[in-house]
């Protein structure tokens, strides 16, 4: 579904400090846009939402190593030109 607004939740990644803000914003936007996390799910959660599960799902879908972390290859995949059809959901 089109993004009407950015999620309010603060996203954290377990076990490590936040990457540079631009990487986090990129990940948020990507995971929401392509259906790996739903807006309702992000709103329901408390302010700190673990996205490891969403990242693993994305990494599995794109054939990446399933680390659950915002590693270099995941970021590179998020920056790659691609089709706009979501990977998950209608």
């Amino acid at each position: 579904a089109p993004l009407h607004s950015k999620p309010q939740a603060v996203i954290t990644f377990p076990g490590e400090l936040l990457s540079a803000p631009s990487d986090v914003e990129l990940a948020e936007s990507y995971l929401l846009r392509f259906g790996y996390i739903q807006e309702a799910e992000a709103r329901r959660s408390s302010k700190h939402v673990s996205l490891a599960k969403a990242l693993r799902k994305m990494q599995k879908q794109l054939g990446l190593e399933e680390t659950g972390e915002l590693d270099a290859s995941t970021l590179e995949a998020m920056r790659a030109p691609r089709c706009g059809v979501p990977d998950v959901g209608g």
């Binding site: 089109p2 599995k60 691609r82 089709c83």
Partner: protein
């Protein structure tokens, strides 16, 4: 593969499509052709047919749009999202939209509109085939006047349509000529040149004279290389140099390594680590054909695949010779069935002819019946699913060489591998194009450099150097210093210390692999050194530390002391059929 929730699919096979508008990046005819080919990808493997209509409501409506373009799913400017499409159904369902902020091409860069010739100003088609070789740029081959030309279809050999490339391509940069154009032919060192050349330079930069006689006038400039002239960085206009070293790794193509913005760059010398000279690679755009084929997959009911090599994988990657992946075929046939295409060709029957008599010396094939029985290996019937059977019925391989410890047998776009160490034995057939993109179907010879593991391929008077799947080439073997007396290279023998012998006809050259130049004093006569082997050998290669010369069904094996110690059957001894 995945289908959409509910397995949405069309309820009829004869689908229509309509192109509502066109990108300004390409001619309408080029876009129409790209879409037609993209639909053919799917119609080739299903009962589906696609017809273009020019008015009214089609099943699949196609448009170019930017940002918010009316469907609530906005695009995002250049790069990022390239296109999207809706699954089958009425109204907007089935439609495909392409981001008009992208630079649409055929995947290889700027479109080159031709002049004169017989193509009425049509654009160059890259790549195109000329005299059996593939070219992705304007060329002067086949002409004596130095004029750049290109084919305007995929094969000049078949269609004979061509045009001349704009002369702006030859305006120089740098040098001492303030951007004046090349003059062809020009004289350098007493020799006439009708193309840009690297002769006289050690940095690999192509240059030309801007008057007819460089020897006299000393006026020159560097030739623009539309394919790799960099933009920005600290080397504006200079060509990429491949391979180049970055952080100790060798790169044979533009890369985004070391950058966080994903932009492609290259070094403009052979070693970025020491020289720090670089620039951004020119924008090759996105192939409208490849992106359309993917989007039309959605229009037909396929969702994204998790198979990286599949067309329906969500991320863009350019491939030169596209082939639909098995995962895509399974997906679309799951929805629509197979269509009325021909059944797979059944495997060829086993040969029934008697083997040729074993030759006793080079050039002769006479033998006695006793010798024949003594030398023939038992020919056990292969198992019904013997994967090596195809290789075993092939005759006269185009090239044979050892790569990564396995003997490779090449023939007509396919190759087989044989390992004497693994139980798997002979494997294949594999596709040459899959393993080494850009190579022609028929290669004459190949060898692997022991030190760098790079693989050199030869076909006609051209050669390629591969690091993995990344290639430099094709280049002419004249760049190696091999004169026109060599029509083609028939084999290669690694001699150690960075030297490789290249065979052609009854002569051979010794190549210094590091500097990629043949040593002085060559060519030499083959039978001066290699006595007792056929001078018309089709394949020459090093295997298990011995030299092998092949002709017809046989091979002659020679020790490093130049003694023939065995003559045998290729298929029984080397392939172990």
């Amino acid at each position: 593969f995945l289908t959409f929730e509910g397995e949405l699919k069309w309820d009829h096979m004869d689908l229509t499509y309509r192109v509502m508008n066109y990108s300004p990046d390409l001619d309408r005819a080029v876009i129409d052709d790209a879409f037609q080919r993209a639909f053919k990808v799917w119609s080739d493997v299903t009962p589906l047919t696609f017809t273009q209509i020019y008015s009214g409501e089609a099943d699949i409506m196609i448009m170019f749009g930017s940002q918010e373009h009316g469907d609530g799913y906005p695009f995002d400017g250049k790069d990022g999202l390239l296109a999207h499409a809706f699954p089958p159904g009425s109204g907007i369902q089935g439609d495909a939209h392409f981001d008009d902020d992208e630079f649409w091409t055929l995947g290889t860069g700027l479109e080159v509109k031709t002049r004169y010739g017989n193509a009425n100003g049509a654009s160059c088609h890259f790549p195109f085939i000329f005299e059996g070789h593939s070219y992705s740029r304007c060329i002067t081959e086949g002409r004596t006047d130095g004029m750049l030309w290109c084919a305007t279809t995929a094969s000049y050999d078949a269609d004979k349509t061509y045009g001349f490339c704009p002369s702006e391509l030859l305006y120089t940069n740098g040098g001492n000529s303030d951007g004046s154009p090349c003059v062809f032919p020009f004289i350098f060192d007493g020799t006439s040149y009708d193309t840009c050349t690297t002769d006289g330079r050690s940095d690999g930069y192509r240059w030309c004279a801007t008057t007819a006689n460089f020897d006299q006038d000393k006026k020159y400039g560097f030739c623009p290389n539309r394919d790799t002239a960099v933009i920005g960085g600290n080397s504006q206009g200079d060509p990429c140099i491949f391979p180049f070293t970055f952080l100790g790794q060798s790169y044979s193509a533009c890369t985004s390594e070391g950058r966080q913005d994903g932009k492609l760059w290259c070094a403009t010398t052979s070693n970025y680590d020491t020289d720090k000279k670089w620039g951004f690679c020119p924008d090759r755009g996105y192939s409208i054909f490849l992106v359309a084929a993917h989007e039309f997959g959605h229009s037909l009911g396929l969702d994204h695949s998790s198979v990286r090599e599949a067309l329906m994988y969500p991320m863009y990657s350019y491939v030169q010779d596209f082939q639909l992946h098995e995962d895509d075929v399974q997906g679309i046939q799951y929805l629509y069935g197979r269509g009325s295409g021909p059944e797979p060709t059944p495997p060829a029957p086993l040969p029934t002819e008697e083997p040729q008599p074993m030759p006793t010396e080079a050039g002769s094939a006479s033998t006695t019946e006793e010798e024949e029985q003594e030398t023939l290996e038992p020919t056990a019937e292969p198992s019904p699913v013997d994967p090596s059977r195809d290789a075993c019925i092939e005759k006269n391989f185009d090239a044979i060489t050892e790569i990564n410890g396995e003997l490779h047998f090449f023939k007509n776009g396919k190759y087989w591998t044989h390992s004497s160490f693994w139980k798997s034995g002979t494997q294949g057939a594999f596709s040459i194009a899959d393993s080494w993109p850009g190579l022609p179907a028929v290669i004459d010879a190949a060898f692997q450099d022991v030190l760098t593991k790079r693989v050199f391929f030869f076909a006609g008077r051209q050669f390629w150097v591969f690091s993995g799947k990344n290639a430099v080439g094709p280049r002419g073997i004249e760049k190696l210093g091999i004169g026109k007396e060599a029509g083609r290279i028939t084999g290669a023998l690694q001699r150690g210390r960075g030297k490789v012998l290249l065979f052609s006809g009854e002569h051979y050259w010794r190549l210094d692999v590091k500097v990629q130049t043949v040593d002085k004093g060559y060519p030499r006569a083959t039978d001066d050194v290699f006595t007792g082997v056929p001078l018309d050998a089709r394949n020459v290669f090093l295997y298990q530390d011995k030299y092998h010369f092949c002709r017809d069904s046989f091979y002659w094996r020679m020790t490093p002391r130049y003694q023939v110690d065995r003559v045998g059957y290729i298929k029984y001894d080397l392939l172990q059929c």
